[in-house]
């Protein structure tokens, strides 16, 4: 049992930190522009595909550096030439714009790379088990994923709270006009934040591509869960996004690892049902079976009991 617990925790950490990389960019963009970027997961997919193409030419490590930069530049351009124009028409227009962008990117990916699964590999230098415990290997690449994500969090936190740029960004979030009056170029800051946010999503794609497979549906699989995390953590809160990501990652991982479900619960309560009961499917439901929808359940609970999210500030 201990082995399952240890590995479930590690798996949860890997997933959680990966989700954080996506959620951090999304929540930053939201707190700054008040817009939920529906195309965020599509930038994650772009990161994976760019890195795949680069890795064919020059290997994994060049892709790790170049692909997020490319995605970031693309994101900044989307903000500069798309979102900024739409901005004048209000939030709904911005929302619809990013929604359409998501479709556009998905179709473009299929157009350029085709619809089949891509053979995007992790670097050979990390092709060894980091450690073996209870007869199960923990791949070094997963350790690398954890390392990168933690570094990103520390870096982001440091820049936002300790550096001059961070102070200006924070000020621009709450008092954009004052910051502009002080002589700072607020639109440039917005563009930069959007670029960095999408670059983070791209980086997540680069390191997730080899393990979670690179295929045209990858944005769809991750897209909705990232929104859930941002809402659970509290819109605009970076620490909230971290806590929510880890919570969701670990919750899913533990649920899958567990072996309990309705039959055990009913047995505990001393109730039994006939196999031909019309709701038989419900009475035989097990926790692993519903693991992937647990985050949505958590979302509903959070919205009921803490509508602003775990660390979010309620808007007056």
């Amino acid at each position: 049992m201990l082995e399952v617990f240890v590995f479930a925790t590690l798996n949860g950490l890997v997933t959680g930190l990966l989700l954080f990389m996506l959620a951090s960019g999304l929540t930053l963009i939201f707190s700054m522009m008040g817009v939920l970027n529906f195309a965020h997961a599509s930038f994650y997919m772009l990161g994976a595909y760019f890195a795949y193409s680069i890795s064919l030419k020059t290997g994994f490590w060049a892709g790790l550096i170049l692909a997020p930069l490319l995605v970031g530049v693309l994101g900044a351009m989307v903000e500069r030439y798309g979102l900024r124009r739409v901005h004048q028409s209000g939030h709904v227009a911005e929302l619809v714009f990013t929604f359409g962008l998501a479709f556009l990117i998905d179709e473009a990916v299929q157009f350029f790379w085709g619809a089949d699964t891509k053979n995007y590999r992790s670097p050979e230098i990390l092709d060894f088990p980091l450690f073996t415990m209870f007869g199960q290997e923990f791949p070094a690449y997963r350790g690398f994923m954890i390392g990168i994500s933690v570094l990103i969090f520390i870096g982001l936190y440091y820049v936002l709270t300790r550096s001059r740029v961070g102070i200006i960004i924070q000020a621009a979030i709450t008092h954009p006009n004052t910051v502009a009056n002080l002589g700072h170029n607020v639109p440039l800051i917005f563009m930069g934040v959007f670029g960095v946010g999408t670059a983070l999503a791209g980086l997540a794609g680069v390191i997730a591509g080899p393990v979670l497979t690179t295929f045209p549906g990858m944005a769809l699989v991750l897209g909705s869960i990232v929104f859930v995390i941002v809402v659970i953590g509290g819109l605009g809160s970076l620490p909230g996004a971290l806590i929510a990501s880890l919570l969701v990652g670990l919750l899913q991982s533990y649920a899958i690892a567990s072996d309990v479900g309705m039959p055990e619960l009913l047995e505990l309560l001393g109730i039994s049902f006939d196999r031909n009961h019309p709701l038989n499917d419900l009475w035989t439901l097990s926790l692993p079976q519903i693991a992937p929808i647990l985050p949505y359940l958590l979302l509903v609970l959070v919205l009921i009991f803490r509508p602003a999210g775990l660390l979010g500030k309620r808007e007056e």
Partner: protein
């Protein structure tokens, strides 16, 4: 303002005149070539965009190639008529399938090839039954080349539906025989997508293993939501700690690749028995890591191909479509049998074709005889269990050097199983 109106009016009459002249030119063109007979039109309805697009597009390429290479380039069928394949994109959605079906009927196409997802095949089956009852002069024939839910040739069987793939229970019978022969396997873990086909795979494989090898322990029986799992590692952790010596799964697409990758990454060295772990990028992605671990139960299309005729067909296909693979021999088998039925009856009427298809025995490019049973419209053909490897691979998949090598072959006559079908036949 008035000037503008005049200008617009002028433009409109001009465009009208222009389109009229185009029409005239076109119609004269058609009358000029009108002596050539009109083509036999066949619909291909599968996902051509969206998440499952790759499977649909590969199928379309194969049907198109079969029509051109086997018939059109040799002067057509029925004394000089060409076969025209008309694609319809149903996005693998039952709702979209009904819309596309209406379109197809509107274009007066009476034969439809469809294969992906049993849910879609079921929808099409019931839509066609209803449509044919009401439109006796405009019937439609369903050629199912790949949907393997047994129900389509059992309780839901229809005169207007023919299945050219072996259904899930037939394949599992072969697969469990193969597993039962391996004395080293003492426990098995079954994991699959939580929907009709995944459930059939789980229930049937457990039942059959219990009969054939009561000593094999079922170490786990897991379902996960289809297309929702980001990372299979937590599932693999459970498989490892259960101590299973083998894994059975009916997963397809990304769910298949991710599962196999996670198993390999965790260093778990057990055979993985699958239905769909090859082609469309999957073989290339698994590459060396999957060698001798991944096995598939499937109809013919594995090395070594038995006849030169069959090899030439693959070579010709690869020459015409270098980035695609010939993944489903049943597509050209189905087309060849349909054409044979048309030639025999000298008719393209679905009723005549269906009647001629019943109990047809047909020799494939492989030199095997396959049989379409008249009672339930289920085709019987050889079934293979093949391994993912790069040894003795004459024809690889995804141009990766890796491909399927057949380890176990069951001839058509040994795959025959009973059916509960009670078919209602239309009266003529």
């Amino acid at each position: 303002m008035i000037n503008m109106m005049m200008l617009l009016l002028d433009l409109r009459t001009k465009t009208k005149f222009f389109s009229l002249s185009i029409l005239l030119v076109l119609s004269s063109f058609f009358t000029a070539t009108g002596n050539a007979q009109e083509p036999v039109r066949i619909a291909f309805m599968d996902p051509l965009t969206g998440t499952f697009a790759s499977i649909g597009n590969t199928g379309l390429k194969q049907l198109q190639f079969a029509a051109d290479h086997l018939f059109n380039e040799k002067g057509g069928i029925l004394g000089g008529r060409m076969i025209e394949i008309v694609p319809f994109d149903n996005k693998q959605s039952p709702t979209e399938t009904q819309i596309q079906f209406r379109r197809m009927v509107g274009e007066e196409i009476q034969i439809v090839f469809q294969g992906n997802s049993s849910a879609v095949a079921n929808t099409l089956n019931s839509t066609i039954s209803k449509h044919n009852r009401r439109n006796a002069d405009q019937e439609v024939l369903q050629i199912n080349y790949s949907a393997v839910d047994p129900i389509l040739t059992e309780d839901q069987c229809s005169f207007w539906h023919f299945r050219f793939d072996s259904h899930a229970v037939m394949k599992l019978d072969v697969l469990t025989d193969f597993i039962a022969m391996n004395e080293e396997i003492k426990s098995v873990y079954v994991i699959g997508q939580d929907y009709s086909f995944g459930q059939v795979v789980s229930d049937t494989s457990i039942r059959m293993l219990n009969e054939k090898r009561p000593d094999i322990e079922i170490a786990g029986n897991e379902f996960h939501p289809i297309g929702q799992v980001k990372d299979f590692t937590p599932y693999v952790t459970k498989i490892v700690s259960s101590g299973a010596d083998a894994v059975i799964t009916g997963n397809f697409g990304a769910d298949m690749v991710s599962l196999a990758r996670s198993i390999i990454d965790a260093g778990l060295d057990v055979p993985i028995y699958t239905f769909y772990a090859a082609y469309d990028g999957i073989t290339a992605t698994l590459g060396a890591d999957g060698k001798n671990k991944i096995r598939l139960v499937h109809n013919e299309s594995a090395n070594p191909y038995p006849t030169e005729k069959r090899k030439d067909y693959v070579r010709a296909f690869k020459a015409a479509n270098p980035t695609y693979d010939l993944t489903q021999a049943r597509i050209h088998n189905a087309l060849m049998m349909v054409v044979r039925a048309m030639e025999e009856t000298q008719s393209t009427d679905p009723y005549d074709v269906a009647t001629a298809l019943e109990d047809m025995r047909f020799t494939t490019l492989n030199g095997d005889e396959i049989w379409m049973r008249g009672d339930d419209h289920q085709l019987f053909q050889e079934i293979h269990v093949s391994v993912h490897t790069d040894e003795n691979i004459e024809f690889d998949a995804d141009n990766s050097g890796y491909g399927l090598y057949s380890e176990y072959r069951v001839p058509a006559e040994d795959t025959i199983i009973e059916s509960s079908c009670k078919m209602r036949r239309p009266r003529r």
